[in-house]
Amino acid sequence: MKLKVMFFARYREALGLDGEAVEGPFTSIEQLRGHLVQRGGAWQVLAEPNLMCARNEELCKPDEPLADGDEVAFFPPVTGG
């Protein structure tokens, strides 16, 4: 399974990365998140309880299932308006 993973705002800055291609067998966004957090260091930022996520440009819950080719985004609570 190949995924495009994106990071925004404070997470993008903490990781020094706006996105990367991730490969592996992930059944849900939560599993992908756990995989990234396990890298340690700055990646711990993705363990924040109020983290928001999106699958293919739509807000979703962390238990959202994943399919090959999905675009997944992680970001802190939104602050527009």
């Binding site: 925004f8 705002a9 404070r10 440009e57 807000l59 970001f75 802190p76 609570p77 527009g80 308006g81």
Partner: protein
């Protein structure tokens, strides 16, 4: 119904006037304009940068607008949100609603703003005397959005 995400400044007055132009069935126009303040959370703010998620931003706003149209009998609904660098005093966001009667316009305008604040992927980074800082999400915004749950 239109949704626009743009870096360019806009004139809120012109936006309001355009809402009832060419439609004599419009009896009520309600608008909201959000501005950059020069002070927030104990610090002077010299400016801010609005980051967003191109592609998702437009989709998220379209979805909010669609839901508002399904809930209330609206004649026009416009959402305009700026991105990029902004200075204190500048408008950030405009929501304008036109309907035959006032209650639908009042409610739809508040609904769109409450959902935009909690569901559209924008993030504010303020420039303060102590350096740049990301604005944190507010629980009160979540509570405001929750009141629209059916």
């Amino acid at each position: 119904m239109t949704v626009r995400v743009q870096a360019a400044a806009f004139d809120p007055g012109a936006q309001v006037n355009a809402l009832h132009a060419a439609n004599l069935g419009v009896g009520a126009v309600v608008s909201f304009v959000g501005y950059v303040r020069d002070f927030n959370d104990g610090r002077d703010v010299a400016g801010m940068f609005l980051e967003h998620y191109p592609g998702m931003t437009e989709k998220a706003l379209d979805k909010i607008v669609l839901e508002a149209e399904q809930r209330w009998p609206l004649l026009r609904l416009e959402v305009l949100h700026r991105v990029g660098a902004l200075e204190p005093g500048e408008p950030i966001v405009f929501v304008g609603v036109a309907s035959a009667h006032r209650q639908a316009a009042f409610d739809a305008c508040a609904f769109v703003m409450d959902y935009l604040k909690t569901r559209a992927p924008f993030w504010k980074k303020e420039q303060t005397g102590d350096g740049p800082r990301w604005v944190e999400g507010r629980v009160s915004d979540e509570e405001a959005a929750d009141r629209w749950k059916k």
